[in-house]
C-alpha cells in the first residue's frame, strides 16, 4: 500500500527509521573500511599478505567450499522429503531441522568436543585408529556443517510446499525419468531459493566464530580461520590488521546482501 507519505506522523517515523539505520547499520559498516584503510593502501595490502592471515583466508575458503555443496544436498533432500510426501513425524522433522539455528555457537562447539574430544564419546576410539578430529581442520568443517545445516532447507521447504508437485507429476506422466524430472523441472523451479540458501550458508560458514573457536584449537597459521585471526590480531593490539582481515569478510557480507537483493527480484 503506497500510502500517503505527506502526513507529519509518517515523516517523523521515516526520519526516525533512517536515523536509527544510519547509526546502527551504516556507520558500523563504514567504520570497518575506514579503519582497514587507516594507514593507506600499501599497509592494507601488507596486512592481508601476512602469512598467518593468508593461511586463515585459505582455511576459511576451504571450509566454505566443502560446507556449501554438502549442505545444499542435505537441504534439497530434506525439502524434497518434507514437501513432497506426508509421513508420521513430518512436522517434528521440520522443527528439528531448526535446532542448529537456535543453539548457541559455543554449545555447538561443546557438543562436538564431547563427541570427538579426548574424553568424548567417539574420540578415544578414533584416536586409537590414529584419527585426530579435534583441534584440526576436520573439526572446523564438522561444526560449520552443523551450524549451517538448516539454511538451504528453510529456504526451500516453504517454496516447494507452495509450488506443489503438479509440474513434476506432469513431467513423470509424460515419460520423463525421475532424474530428468528433478534436473529439468524441480531444479529450475527452486533455483533462486536454492542459490539464496547457498549464499546464506556461505556467509555463515565463512563467518562462524564461537563454534569454531571451541574446536579449532586456534593454532596460528594452522587451524585459524579468518574470524579467529581477527580476534588474535585484536588481542595483539594490531587493530589495523584486525580490520584489514575483517574488511574481507565485510566485503563478502556486502556481496551477500547484493546477491540477496538480486535473487529476490528474480524470484518474483
Amino acid at each position: 500500500m503506497p500510502a500517503a507519505t505527506d502526513g507529519l506522523g509518517a515523516r517523523l517515523l521515516i526520519a526516525a527509521a533512517l536515523l536509527i539505520a544510519l547509526v546502527t547499520l551504516v556507520v558500523p559498516l563504514a567504520l570497518i573500511f575506514a579503519s582497514a584503510f587507516a594507514e593507506g593502501w600499501a599497509a592494507y595490502v601488507a596486512n592481508i599478505m601476512q602469512p598467518d592471515t593468508l593461511h586463515a583466508v585459505f582455511l576459511t575458503v576451504l571450509t566454505a567450499v566443502i560446507v556449501v555443496p554438502v549442505n545444499m544436498v542435505f537441504g534439497i533432500a530434506t525439502a524434497w522429503a518434507v514437501a513432497r510426501y506426508d509421513f508420521p513425524g513430518r512436522k517434528l522433522m521440520i522443527s528439528l531441522i531448526e535446532i542448529p539455528f537456535s543453539v548457541s555457537p559455543i554449545v555447538a562447539g561443546t557438543i562436538y568436543l564431547f563427541l570427538y574430544g579426548q574424553q568424548g564419546l567417539l574420540g578415544p576410539t578414533l584416536q586409537s585408529w590414529g584419527v585426530q578430529v579435534m583441534f584440526s581442520v576436520p573439526a572446523i568443517v564438522l561444526v560449520s556443517l552443523f551450524v549451517t545445516a538448516p539454511f538451504v532447507a528453510r529456504e526451500l521447504i516453504p517454496l516447494m510446499q507452495a509450488q506443489g508437485s503438479e509440474d513434476e507429476e506432469a513431467a513423470l506422466s509424460l515419460g520423463a525419468s525421475p532424474w530428468q524430472t528433478f534436473r529439468l523441472v524441480t531444479l529450475p523451479n527452486i533455483r533462486w531459493a536454492l542459490l539464496y540458501g547457498a549464499v546464506l550458508t556461505n556467509a555463515r560458514a565463512m563467518g562462524e566464530f564461537g563454534a569454531v573457536s571451541v574446536v579449532s584449537g586456534s593454532i596460528r597459521g594452522q587451524t585459524n580461520t579468518l574470524p579467529l585471526q581477527i580476534e588474535l590480531l585484536f588481542n595483539d593490539f594490531n587493530v589495523v590488521g584486525a580490520f584489514a582481515a575483517a574488511s574481507t569478510l565485510a566485503l563478502i557480507a556486502v556481496a551477500t546482501l547484493v546477491l540477496k537483493f538480486l535473487l529476490e527480484r528474480h524470484a518474483q
Binding site: 510426501y85 537456535s102 566464530f209
Partner: protein, 280 residues
Amino acid sequence: MPMTSLQRRRRVMPGFGLSMGIALTYFALIVLLPLVAMAIKTASLGWEDYWKIVTAPRSLASFRITLTAALAATVVNAVVGLLFAWVLTRYRFPGRRLLDALVDLPFALPTAVAGLTLVTLFAPNGWFGRYLEPLGIKVAYAPLGIMAAMFFTSIPFVVRTVQPVLEDLSADVEEAARSLGARPWQVFALVIWPVILPAFLAGTTMAFARSIGEFGAVVFIAGNLPMVTEITSLLIFIRLDEFNYPAAAALASVLLLVAFLLLFLTNSLQARVLRHARRD
C-alpha cells in the same frame, strides 16, 4: 474409495527413499549424534554435582547478566524492528530499498567483525565513545556493551517476521475501519495489531533466543569480567579451556534447554501466523 491427493502423490512421486535416507542419515550424524554425546556427558554428572555447578555464584551471575542484557536488547529490538517493518511496508521514500537490503547486514556480517566494529565505535576515542564517555555513558567493557552487541546481531528477526504479515494485510480492512470513523491509532490498535501480534511475538522470541546464545560479538566488547560482564557462553568457553568438562557440560545443558524451549515457543507462534494467513 477416492484417493486423497497425498496418497496419490506418494505413489507417483519418486525419490522418497533416497531423499529421506540422505536427510535422516545426515541429520543423525551431524546434529543428533553430538547432542547424544552431550546428553551422556551431562547425565554422567549426577544430580548433586550438576546442581552444585549450575547454582555456583559465578554461574548464577552469568545467567543474570546474559538474561538481563538479552531482555533489554530484545525490548529495543521489538520497538526498532516494528518501526522498520512499518516504515518499509507502509511508505515510499528515497532510500527505502537500501534500508530494506541493509536490515539483513547483521545476519551477513560475521559476529567477530561485528564485535570488533562495535568495540572500536564505543571505545573512549571511538566515533560514538568520544561523545558518550564525557556524558558518563560507558558502553565498551561494560554491561551496556553486551546489550549493544546482542541488539546489533538480532536486528533482522522482528523486521523479517512482521514485514510479510504487514504486506499481506489487505488495505480495504483498514479503509473500512477508517471510513467508519476510526482514528489512526484505533485502526492500528484494533485492526492491525491483533493480526501482526503472533508474528511480532515469534520475531521477538527469535531475537531473544539469538541474544542469549550470542558469543562472538559480545566477547569483543564485554570486557569479560567474572560476576560483572561474563556471559554464560563465555563461562562455558573458559571451563572448556580449563579442561573442567563437567562444568562446561552442565552449563551448556542449561543453554541448550533454554534454546529448545524458545524453539518450541517460536514454532507454536509461527503455526498461529500460518493459521491466520490461511483464514483470509
